[in-house]
Symmetry: C2
Subunit: 166 residues, 2 copies
């Protein structure tokens, strides 16, 4: 599922998701060990929850899952962990959904493109240098200095599109 170039196909129901989670958690641990930042229990737990699917997930959804029984955590609890994970590029924020999704190239500075299915909610992360190049060229012509790209494509994945045709 993971590769240097990001997910190349849409996540399928058949894929072994445990592998995705494992890879992500190990990469996060490696990154934190290498750079000397702390992947605390809470941060690890939030990262696991984000990685529980390939669907962008909202902060308050995560919050509910954090304390399934009894007293519940307050918003800053989850937002601080999300901020940490964002800062270290372990997750991405999907602005068009106010939601968060695991990153495929953790700890590595990059701007990605997201293809997000409106029906099943799953998302694929791509890094297409052509998109990047075209945007950089446009920016140059405008005299604009890019800091961050937000490229989020909404639509229907193949499965859901087929399903609707019936």
């Amino acid at each position: 599922m993971n590769s240097k170039k990001g997910i190349q196909r849409f996540p399928t129901p058949r894929h072994n998701h445990a592998t995705c989670v494992n890879t992500a958690m190990h990469q996060a641990e490696d990154y934190c060990n290498r750079t000397g930042v702390r992947l605390t229990q809470l941060r690890r737990r939030v990262l696991e929850l984000v990685w529980s699917s390939h669907r962008p997930v909202g902060a308050y959804d995560l919050l509910e899952q954090l304390e399934p029984k009894g007293r519940k955590a307050a918003p800053p609890t989850v937002y601080r962990s999300l901020d940490f994970l964002l800062e270290h590029k372990l997750i991405h924020r999907i602005d068009s959904l106010n939601a968060f999704i695991g990153c495929n190239q953790p700890g590595h500075e990059h701007d990605a493109q997201f293809f997000i299915c409106k029906a099943c909610g799953e998302a694929a992360e791509l890094i297409d240098p052509k998109v990047e190049r075209a945007l950089v060229k446009d920016a140059n012509q405008l005299g604009f200095n890019i800091e961050k790209q937000t490229v989020e494509i909404a639509g229907l994945c193949n499965r859901c599109h087929q399903g609707r045709k019936k």
Copy 2:
């Protein structure tokens, strides 16, 4: 400032903004007359407020400006007008800012790219077929059916970038 291809340069302080507003309002009127939808007082007022600058503006900012004296309007008032203007492609929503900006190709179905200066807040709307083509190609490879593109580039415009170098 306006053209068939969208703003090609960043809005400058020197440009005659009254022309931008005039053009936008006339295009909106034409569109509504042609298609038989109603550009009511309220909707016109909201559109004018959105066009009062080239900066994306928040719904609550608009709301405040709607009733400068005395009783103030409630959120649905402005959101309904914004929904109408969005539906008819007279404005765009900038997801990364939760804000709204006038559209340069009103009433015309298109996906644009936005370059938004973090310092001065001004934004330029471009339509670069290369970006579109690259994304469509990626989508095809994923078996993905695009419905809507969100391409929002944050950074510094030339003016603000120069200013910071000093």
